[in-house]
Symmetry: C2
Subunit: 353 residues, 2 copies
Amino acid sequence: MNIQRYAENPLITPSDVKPHREDFEVIEAFNAGIATYKGEVLMLLRVAERPISEDPNIVKAPVYNPETNELDLIKIRKNDDRYDFSDPRVIRNKTKSGDFEYLTSLSYIRIARSNDGHHFTVDDEPFIYPSNIQEIFGIEDPRVTQIGDTYYIYFSVVSPVGIGESMVSTTDFVTMKHHGMIFGPDNKDVLIFPEKINGKYYALHRPTMKSVGDPNIWIAESDNLLYWGNHKHLLGLREGLWDSGRIGGGAVPFKTDKGWLELYHGATLDHRYCMGAVLLDLNDPSKVIARSNKPVMEPEASYEKNGFFGDVVFSCGAINEGDIVKMYYGVADTSMACAELSLKEILDSLDYI
Amino acid sequence: MNIQRYAENPLITPSDVKPHREDFEVIEAFNAGIATYKGEVLMLLRVAERPISEDPNIVKAPVYNPETNELDLIKIRKNDDRYDFSDPRVIRNKTKSGDFEYLTSLSYIRIARSNDGHHFTVDDEPFIYPSNIQEIFGIEDPRVTQIGDTYYIYFSVVSPVGIGESMVSTTDFVTMKHHGMIFGPDNKDVLIFPEKINGKYYALHRPTMKSVGDPNIWIAESDNLLYWGNHKHLLGLREGLWDSGRIGGGAVPFKTDKGWLELYHGATLDHRYCMGAVLLDLNDPSKVIARSNKPVMEPEASYEKNGFFGDVVFSCGAINEGDIVKMYYGVADTSMACAELSLKEILDSLDYI
């Protein structure tokens, strides 16, 4: 596989983003949804900011307060035995179940704009910021599906009651309409197909199970993009391969002669995130035609291997022009990068079932 | 609270149900959805059958095979150290995450019919039996919502990829139409309201979270009963009370002058299941008006305290006639019972918020 990483990589780093508050610092600008709008490439960056801590013995957790429309800062002493700080992204309460009690940063969505797809300018202000009780720990990993003149932007919303997927729509990337939570918890990595297929909209989603079942990719259908049903299991983990620990949809699926191509992420149990591909039937995307036995892209460049959470390539959007696939992707949970791949090479690399 | 338990309780026990195969035994006939049809009360029983084991050192797990349309019997030796048999309902694999690897019985739905609501006759054959890959470990805890002449029957479907909620509809309790999985995993305890409210259908559901969040009751909306969205958190756990460990919808909600009344189940962390009530706004059921601080019904009768899994009362359906609420309920994960309560007394017992 020929992978043409952009010479300008990383295209956006946290230092390119001005914090939205003076007492905060931007620690991540990554996992951007991608749109083309009025001749520009837009990155809908997931920006993560954290409160600057003057006291190294105290960790501050930012929590959006929907009543005041401000952030509350929860302060926790690092020597408090109830808490576990070993994962820099979260604060775990050892006395409770679940993956975390607080996040150490608050994520929201900010736009970066480019004429050439290589050089981006970041907006001064947030675009989508937490605004309700479902988003008090932040909004993460947006994807953008364009249908006609409308851009549907959907993202994980995180709060103490669960992680689900909410959606807004816009026609101008200035104003937006909120559509609420379209996939209930525990769910993330939703990807909406860009057109109806045999009269139905389709979406991939990634439920996280407690009772039984692995973090796999499922598919659902809809007739209005807001309400979803007919859920079916689509793609599982594969022991011993690059996607043995966890998988989820990546870039918005796009149409090829051979089927719908979905660039998805897979991780091993030790959290090495790669990108691979799955080809779905053009007329029935619940049918898998082919899949990557080897990743399409692995973390190899230094900016992919090192960062806030290293060894991660994680795409939320790509642009397909003829044989060229411009895959934008988050690196090391820190920055944004892009690489060009050949569509034919991706399709040829798949293992046909 | 006056609770008039029927003198005939338990109304149905496992011994009233003929196994559907000679080499199987019925161990549970419980958690029935309730419908009234042509002057009869129908219990849609959850019947659990298990393979009779000739060898006490071997546990057999029944698994529906959608390719052969038969049951496969997985045999596991009790001295196999990888497995944990301490919960009689499941076989856990200690080397894997999740609550179980196999179930020790297979559940399906069978109808019991009555002219008087007290004396029931069980059909000779199953009504809804596993029929697809999402149901290979069985189907559980049906509820029935009547809208016009159509009865919507929905139930948990269990398979190695997850537990979700699927639906069929019928107008005659003989033929049925399958509508697929309406709530994706990890989810159960769905309850569909019996009419549109301000132009939308509503349902309660109970996602089970791994990442963050407790097993709480959520509410969603739909315009066709098949596709669901606008998910909102409705009701949480309450430390120190009867519903501190786990809650989920119970009987199909019914309309009262004061609001929609939902009889829901709550359990403590040590698995004592009681029934309580929550009152929801007539025009917007995502608004909670009142809730039981004390249970409406606790396991007290011997058939409620003792059985396959004791100390459980668990209703999946009730019939409201004037001031009388006939609450049918599963007891001790074994049998079915019924009790009559006063609607006024239930409403008066609630703690208004």
